[in-house]
């Protein structure tokens, strides 16, 4: 065989994968349930200059394993590099970069809204449209619980903010893969 035959790879045809994806990524990590694991992950992000947008930590069906769900902006950080660095942590067992179409993601938020008697009706109407629950009431405020994907919660926030948002708490997304219809 001679150099330059079609069987060989033409160098100009080689392409490198680009770093930034430009979209939000939801990473689902299985980690060992041991002290200091979250500190290792948080430390890795700060050391490498990555930013975590949201973070949710909780137990799984296996008591020795915890689940960390985080969102990271793929327009600012090379997700490939983020996941590879996370993989290097000995306590990180598995990482999944969740595919949006195959993922069900939910977040919960609590909104404390100033609600004078005259605007109360309107606020509760919003809540109903968003299938949100009023979970606490005082003379001046209503506290509303909303569950849904991030877009829905953002939308609710936009609707409610003009009424006077006193406080907002969001959990960050948790996510699970969709089952196939027959599954």
């Amino acid at each position: 065989m001679e150099a330059g035959t079609p069987d060989l790879i033409k160098l100009e045809d080689l392409e490198a994968t680009s770093g930034l994806t430009g979209r939000k990524h939801l990473l689902s990590l299985l980690v060992e349930n041991k002290p200091g694991v979250l500190a290792r992950i948080a430390g890795l992000f700060s050391r490498r200059g990555f930013n975590i947008d949201t973070l949710a930590v909780g137990p799984t069906e296996d008591p020795e394993v915890s689940r960390i769900t985080m969102t990271v902006d793929g327009a600012l950080h090379p997700i490939d590099q983020v996941t590879k660095q996370l993989h290097k942590l000995v306590n990180v067992i598995k990482i999944r970069d969740m595919e949006p179409e195959q993922t069900v993601a939910r977040e919960m938020a609590l909104f404390k809204v100033s609600a004078a008697i005259e605007s109360r009706g309107e606020i509760m109407q919003f809540a109903e449209i968003f299938r949100a629950d009023v979970i606490d009431v005082s003379r001046r405020t209503l506290t509303i619980q909303v569950t849904g994907d991030t877009g829905k919660i953002d939308a609710f926030e936009r609707m409610i903010r003009p009424h006077g948002l006193v406080e907002m708490v969001r959990t960050g997304e948790v996510a699970i893969t969709r089952s196939r219809p027959e599954g």
């Binding site: 065989m1 150099a3 330059g4 060989l8 490198a16 060992e32 590099q81 590879k84």
Partner: protein, 559 residues
């Protein structure tokens, strides 16, 4: 069995013969256990020195180096060495004492959150909370430190727990770690793709790094390079992986590398990176680095691939496993060797036009480059050389031709001044039959000069050749070239008197100020028994050239 004794048993089971450290309150039980254990303890005089000695031991032997320190200041003193070990991927285990469990979190005497402090600079760490885990953590620490991409692992042991009575069973086999499974094989499809690309390259360069040395893959690397007439360059961490000089050898790459090596990267159409990580000292200005090249990147650490420079053909694996496959695949393609003729012609022109050179003095003054040449001659290129950090390090990398790996031991990533002497002590302990020379800088050596006592006390006959220019020379060079010669805090005067200092520590001290005597002086230092320091006075304001100014491109080399 007492947990501290189990710790020593676990160390012995891992084949540990030597440890470097200093005792203190929190690791008293460990030191009590060492009293009977068949492990030689080298008492250093500062924990940083202990850490670097463990690194030198590891780099010289390929085995895991072990450093011990007590809690608080003992452990924080070791932090620089741990950071050094992560940057240069040195297989090391550091065992620190911690205050008693009930005192953790109370700001107890000599308490420091060492596990927390070292989180960003360890490959992994263990804070012992149950004494029954101590032996298991030691085994896991050795496994993690020495496999995959090597690195430092910390085991922090509270004092009370190391006094606990536990069952000890010798461990067998590889530890089960759910989240740690380094892949070594290399994807064969990728290897085939790489071979085909390489067979089509007209201007290839092989760029090797310290990963080849860590993988003990120099033989496989050399065979791969010689499967065709590939031009070869190495980083400062890789020196020795390919023999210098050699027909295919371009010289060192990077900021103080040769023009031939840097220009070849600049003009290359295909670069094969093996166990190297595209550090800024290699790439210079990233956007202008090797603008015409495609990249094959072979590394055991997937996170290094496409970290700084996007790889076109990534291959994750151990150099020792991947290179023979790549060699075979390439050989089977029977590429036309003559296609490289033009490339070699070009490289030959660079080599001829820009050899490493310096103007020797016309009087008896010793030029620093001349000192390295003398060192090479006297040691016949056979010594294990450890180095501090600065001009002398770069001159040595340029002018000492290393025929073999694990002969050149320096701090490349962190650039730790003071690395050389303790690393030489560690290297000499690991390889007592080899001549071990520390090429020291006068700025560096004084930072760790307490370790002169270590070598004297343990009768470790290392030789220190001190390149004394009375300055923090590399910083002075930068101030001269890039900061308008405004020399700020770089001149050091003539303190200490190094010969007297050496003698005060029980060493033999020698001085050399005349270039006509340098080889004889070095030879008598090597032939003498025991540790010897030779204070070599060199030109005070010599610059290390060539160089790529920081943030510039290879094309813009100066000097």
């Amino acid at each position: 069995m007492r947990a501290a004794d189990a710790l020593c048993e676990a160390l012995k089971a891992e084949g540990v013969k030597h440890v470097f450290g200093i005792p203190g309150g929190a690791n008293l039980p460990t030191y009590d256990a060492l009293y009977d254990a068949e492990i030689e303890h080298i008492q250093v005089r500062h924990e940083q020195g202990g850490g670097h000695a463990a690194e030198g031991y590891a780099k010289a032997s390929g085995k895991v180096g072990v450093g011990l320190a007590t809690s608080g200041p003992g452990a924080t003193n070791m932090v620089t060495a741990i950071a050094d070990a992560i940057m240069d991927s040195v297989p090391t285990v550091f065992i620190t004492g911690q205050v008693r469990t009930e005192l953790i979190g109370t700001d107890g005497f000599q308490e420091a959150d060492v596990t927390g402090i070292t989180l960003p600079i360890v490959k992994h760490s263990f804070l012992v909370t149950d004494p029954r885990h101590i032996p298991e953590y030691v085994h896991e620490a050795f496994y993690i430190a020495s496999t995959g991409r090597p690195g430092p692992v910390l085991v922090d042991v509270p004092q009370d727990l190391s006094r606990a009575d536990i069952e000890y069973e010798p461990s067998t086999g590889i530890p089960e770690l759910a989240g740690y499974k380094p892949s070594t094989e290399g994807n064969i499809k990728q290897v085939r793709l790489a071979a085909k690309a390489l067979a089509n390259a007209r201007r290839p360069v092989i760029y090797g790094g310290g990963g080849i040395v860590n993988a003990n893959a120099s033989e496989q690397f050399r065979e791969f390079c010689r499967v065709d007439r590939f031009p070869v360059t190495l980083t400062v961490m890789g020196l020795g992986a390919f023999p210098a000089p050699d027909e295919q050898w371009l010289g060192m790459l990077g900021m103080h590398g040769t023009r031939a090596a840097n220009y070849a990267m600049d003009e290359a159409d295909l670069i094969v990176a093996v166990g190297a990580r595209f550090d800024d000292r290699i790439t210079g200005k990233l956007s202008e680095f090797a603008p015409r090249a495609k990249f094959i990147h072979i590394d055991i650490d997937p996170a290094e691939i496409s970290k700084n420079v996007p790889a076109h053909i990534p291959i994750v694996g151990d150099a020792g496993d991947v290179l023979p496959k790549l060699t075979d695949e390439y050989r089977a393609l029977r590429a036309e060797a003559a296609r490289l003729d033009e490339w070699w012609k070009q490289i030959g022109e660079w080599q001829e036009e820009y050899p490493l050179r310096y103007d020797d003095s016309e009087d008896s003054e010793i030029k620093p480059q001349r000192m390295i040449e003398a060192m090479f001659k006297v040691t016949e290129g056979e010594a294990v050389i450890t180095s501090d950090v600065g001009q002398h390090q770069m001159w040595c990398a340029q002018y000492y031709d290393f025929p073999r790996p694990r002969q050149w031991i320096n701090s490349g990533g962190l650039g730790t001044m003071g690395f050389g002497l303790p690393a030489a002590i560690g290297a000499k302990v690991a390889r007592p039959d080899d001549t071990v020379v520390c090429l020291a800088g006068d700025g560096s050596l004084v930072m760790v000069c307490q370790e002169l006592a270590t070598a004297a006390r343990h009768d470790i006959p290392v030789k220190v050749f001190l390149m004394n220019n009375g300055h923090f020379g590399m910083v002075r060079q930068w101030q001269e070239l890039f900061w308008d010669r405004r020399y700020s805090a770089v001149e050091m005067g003539d303190s200490p008197d190094w010969v007297k200092l050496a003698e005060a520590f029980g060493w033999t001290g020698m001085r050399c100020t005349d270039k006509g005597e340098i080889e004889d002086t070095m030879k008598s230092a090597i032939d003498a028994d025991g540790p010897v320091l030779v204070d070599v006075h060199v030109t005070k304001e010599e610059n290390c050239f060539p160089m790529i100014p920081s943030g510039a491109a290879a094309r813009d080399m100066v000097g």
